[in-house]
Symmetry: D2
Subunit: 205 residues, 4 copies
């Protein structure tokens, strides 16, 4: 099994927003089934605690916070953009755009620029920040399995990182979306799939 | 339905190699079921003919042609890299690395640099060539649905293109892989899904 | 002479901060000579007015706003990073990090994510925002000629844009730095060099 | 003075083609003055020898090899593209597109994909290859100081590398172009400037 040198490893937390993870969030009706079913917040909290304890860099990769004027005069909108626009998803300044209260950033954590679509790397400084901190191994957790998580993982491989997916550290709208990521797609290109328990055990050694 | 201005549209053909598409190819045992089942070569040929007839730019996005020394001294290999290395996939100079005889390039077609992993855009000049030819709409066909096609489509959206997937213009190792792309993933971020017949009809008008 | 279709053209304003352009700014002692000598603020104001009048998209490409914790634990600092750190350049929330009062953004203008080093495109959403607004021609003005302006121009060409430099719309620490950009470097790779007066005349026609 | 861990360091050789560096080359009339004046081939040879001896990875970053059909139907050409087209610079298959006979690649060296414009990183796999070999420090030598070398150096910094310029390992069309790079521009963003002699001494220790 792969050893993760803590000083070269980062835990990337993708979109841990209230709109995704908390009762009352704009997408809660869609995400509740798998977020609760997989105990996502509990697992992400365990990952964060383990990372902090072992000096693994934590970095947030947050989606764009929508404001009213966004997407005006765009040539065309992808379904992802149209959905964000129509629901003012993760609305700037709103509770829904805050990180879940049990998953908030602390001093020493990094927060990358907000991404507009799926990949936390695309059109942001996520890669640059990781490089400047000497990171070679990335651990992925957060939302949503087959969109932002899958895209961020694909980019990470193309950028030369060693990429690990936490299989019970991600959720989605349906169990099928999670399976598409963990069983059908990621094993073709990603380097390792671990459970939260496995990662927290391995990183200690 | 979207209109495609032909001079702003490109048909991207991903990895139409003999190793994927022809009897005797190194992956034929895995791809035959869906390649034949979906009539991939016939459909790609129809797409290419239609593109040529309507002055739609054709561009190939080919995977790296493997040679013996490749992947030596790499820090770590993704499963995709390990697979290419172990089978000397699309071996440089071999028949398996040639485009399927019914899908070969003609004068005026473009061929992007070879990609190392999944996305035809990552670490290649595919984006640059499309820009220099004024392309804003890309149509995706080829192999393999949930790896290179899905990755190339995700990158295209992040790069600002309008992205159309030809649902019977892609194949994979299993029908489930195709469904993961066409039903579970692409509809979240891509702009349009069309059949070969639909595209060839729309582009004429 | 090149015609600039207004709806495909953007004016990119690089780092028009008080720290660069205003008396009392942290770098004013270094920039005053050329900023005043070339009448930079007056010219940028004319460019902005002309862009607004002719429906040319304005987009700001601002440098990172420095905060205390920045650059901690970085593997190594480039002179640009070290300088920003040591002077807390464009300090977050400070007057120095505000745009010059005569060059402020208005509704409809775009503001790209902040860049960490030289190029306004590197590790930001500048390219993506330009794409989504259909921009193919970029006009460059701002600070500092041989660092951010030259880098942003080089990236723009590599990304497939038509790139115009406003020769009296940029300043630096010395006249030699400006000449290195306008006479020695840019003519090798950029598409056009115009004066403010030439641009404002051409864009009207 | 910076120490360079050999296994994390790469020597990037930019465009060491006969057309640039050899009598009879298409640009020899322009480059002879500084190539001979700075003893470029001798210095690059010393750098290569030193790199090989100390297990520093050598990687070539070659410009596009021009063929007749190139640049057809491009939206617009930068002066760099127009020049390559008009002179069929580094013509594919020609002597001029071969590396200078004293600077040829050996087994174990890497050759990145060809770049279309200035930066060896733009639209190529140079970054990816460096990452997969664990490179964090890049040493730059080759042609031409204020175009490809300066662009490649700027990209390297934005990508998170430690960047060293060999001041007598580059040449150009004029001494002023070299000074623009070594004195006016690079010191603002690059990490170190060394002579060939200094680098070959430091890397041994």
């Amino acid at each position: 099994m792969e050893a993760y040198p803590p000083q070269k490893t980062a835990l990337i937390l993708v979109d841990p927003f209230n709109d995704f993870l908390s009762e009352g969030g704009k997408l809660w009706a869609y995400t509740r089934e798998t977020v609760e079913g997989i105990a996502l917040v509990k697992n992400m909290k365990a990952l964060i605690g383990s990372a902090r304890e072992n000096k693994v860099q934590i970095i947030y990769a947050p989606h764009h916070h929508t404001t009213k004027g966004d997407y005006m005069n765009w040539k065309f909108l992808s379904p992802s953009h149209a959905g964000s626009k129509n629901t003012t998803l993760f609305e700037k300044g709103s509770w829904g755009a805050q990180f879940h209260p049990e998953l908030v950033a602390q001093e020493g954590d990094l927060i990358a620029q907000n991404h507009w679509t799926g990949s936390g790397f695309a059109n942001t400084d996520l890669d640059f920040l990781l490089r400047m901190h000497g990171i070679e191994y990335v651990i992925l957790a957060g939302m949503r399995a087959n969109t932002c998580i899958d895209s961020t993982a694909r980019y990470a491989v193309e950028l030369g990182y060693h990429v690990t997916l936490i299989k019970d550290g991600i959720a989605a709208f349906t169990w099928e979306e999670i399976r598409a990521t963990t069983e059908t797609n990621f094993p073709n290109y990603g380097h390792a799939i671990l459970s939260t328990e496995e990662f927290t055990r391995i990183i200690k050694t």
